[in-house]
Symmetry: C2
């Protein structure tokens, strides 16, 4: 069995270019005992991937040149040498930018298409949704009547943050790029207000949308937007930090207050800033998350949007668009046919 793969050809300088990616074929070994052969149905494209393309240590090792690009996937089991899985099962995997893979059955989670569309395992019911849930519930802890702000707010993390915060009784202000996304925040996701960070009146619009300041700022972008919101935090404000994707493509350092001034601000308002990876909360909070979020989707208190592009070859260009905010909702690549779908229309 052969797998078609997209690999890291060169480390991007600034915005990734087509030449930073290369396509190749790999011969797969047949599955050994305890392993399965998988066919990729959906590949998740996420902002964290840009950081891993750099040769800089972060919370994870950088990706190696020539390797297949990594990423979360939903796959169909084609062959199984594990009693836990059977051909035709759909699983959540981490097999990356390729059409097929062999993986240990132990690391896979079987998905139930009757519960929710399987693609949601990469979005609202997956890593992005869990990031929103734990950052908000464990770190941000909004109280009824408080104000929660979130940027990249139509994305899978931001849209879940806003909707969970509203369930918890907070007033929610979303920040997004352009009028189309701002409209979606209010009309589709039920945010109390939306602010367009591309507007020349951004700072004034932000003041108007935040008459009582900000109590929780869910940080997933950083940069100028992060700075503007952090300046507006109230005393005892909380900032869960799950990402700082702004300027990911930038080759020059951003502007902003220096560490000492940041610490002064943290001190003068008794602020809490806490970086986190969703993985650290899996043992303690994942069961509660799945139960809560599945219920919220079923009763309509949480909705989600997906932006699905067709075919593995479309992944590099779609990923470029993700970094410049082109998509609206969770960005997925349909690498192969989804056997649970009755039509080709969008699952959301």
């Amino acid at each position: 069995m052969k797998s078609r793969q997209i690999r890291l050809a060169a480390r991007p300088v600034g915005e990734p270019r087509a030449s930073d990616f290369e396509t190749g074929m790999a011969e797969l070994d047949p599955p050994a005992d305890g392993q399965v052969l998988l066919r990729t149905v959906y590949l998740s494209l996420d902002p964290y991937m840009r950081g891993r393309m750099n040769d800089a240590a972060s919370y994870a090792e950088p990706w190696r040149l020539g390797d297949v690009l990594q990423g979360g996937t939903v796959c169909e089991v084609l062959e199984s040498r594990s009693v836990a899985l059977a051909p035709g099962d759909l699983v959540l995997a981490y097999t990356g930018w390729q059409t097929h893979a062999v993986a240990d059955a132990e690391g896979l989670r079987r998905l139930d298409p009757a519960q929710a569309p399987v693609s949601t395992a990469l979005g609202v019911l997956g890593m992005p949704g869990f990031t929103a849930y734990t950052g908000l519930r464990v770190i941000g802890r909004p109280q009824p009547g408080e104000t929660v702000a979130v940027a990249a707010a139509t994305g899978p993390v931001g849209s879940a943050v806003g909707q969970i915060a509203r369930i918890d009784g907070a007033r929610v202000v979303g920040i997004a790029g352009g009028p189309r996304k701002c409209r979606a925040l209010v009309e589709d996701f039920g945010f109390d207000a939306a602010v367009d960070h591309r507007s020349p009146a951004f700072e004034a619009d932000l003041d108007r949308a935040l008459p009582d300041g900000v109590d929780v700022y869910f940080e997933n972008v950083g940069g100028a937007v992060g700075q503007a919101v952090i300046e507006r935090l109230n005393r005892f404000g909380r900032v869960p930090v799950c990402g700082v994707v702004a300027g990911a493509n930038s080759t020059t350092p951003p502007d902003g207050p220096v560490l000492h001034a940041v610490l002064r601000h943290v001190l003068s308002r008794s602020l809490l800033i806490r970086g986190f990876l969703q993985a650290e909360f899996v043992p303690t909070h994942h069961d509660a998350f799945l139960e809560d979020m599945t219920g919220w989707i079923r009763d309509g208190s949480v909705t989600y949007r997906e932006d699905i592009v067709e075919g593995l070859e479309a992944a590099p260009e779609a990923f470029r668009g993700l970094l410049t905010g082109r998509n609206l909702g969770k960005l997925l690549v349909r690498v192969g046919e989804d056997p649970t779908r009755v039509a080709d229309s969008d699952a959301s």
Copy 2:
């Protein structure tokens, strides 16, 4: 009754100068019902005072020009119109840089000289000790075997931080200016290691003193020292921030990473940064603090140093020295005779 006062004559630009202070006399009204007339015994000089001299909002209002300078004091009751206090009682007050004052009895705490020297109510058993205790126990939470670092480590906050962290089983590294202070850290306060931030080899010395990185950095200085330690934080490192006195006299902005880079660092190591004022923890933790700290002083597991200057007139120059690190230990001004002292020798 007249009170001799030191007032804010001008807002210091950079290092405070003698001309920023002025001495004057104020006529005090006699105490009304529920009030007492006080004679100042000790005045506390603390780094936070420099910030209040500026015309910039922080967690508190700036001091007004022409007003008597504020500050914590230990006073003797001369006259009482409250049933709660009698002449001769010693109390903890907040009457500032003056020899006498009239105050509401309700805001005063009676001190028991048999428990500990009354001057300690401004240091190890007072606001600085409570800052150390809550920042460490509520926010930093060092675990046995972890490494705790603290700057301004011979000061009343830093020395208490290090000693409490050792009681909690941590390895403790103190940072201070000059070999005399570094010796005191190890010999008097029992720190595991000391690093001189004035040494040209500071960064290399810090690496040597921190072979396992830093788990808790108790931030009370900021600036270049803060930056150096924050860079060395381990995953899940915690940074209680009680002060950023470095550069308090500076008229130019300090160097350092900008907000976006700080957030990246916070994210890549899952760090927690939390500003706090000790006052927020008084309702929940002050009783436990007094009990624990009194016990530790009695059994010798916490020691303290005081640096006492004589006479109200010495306060401005002593305060200038505080900002440049001249004193070793808690800086106090003996404004008037301490009736509980048998000799004039240092209480520590």
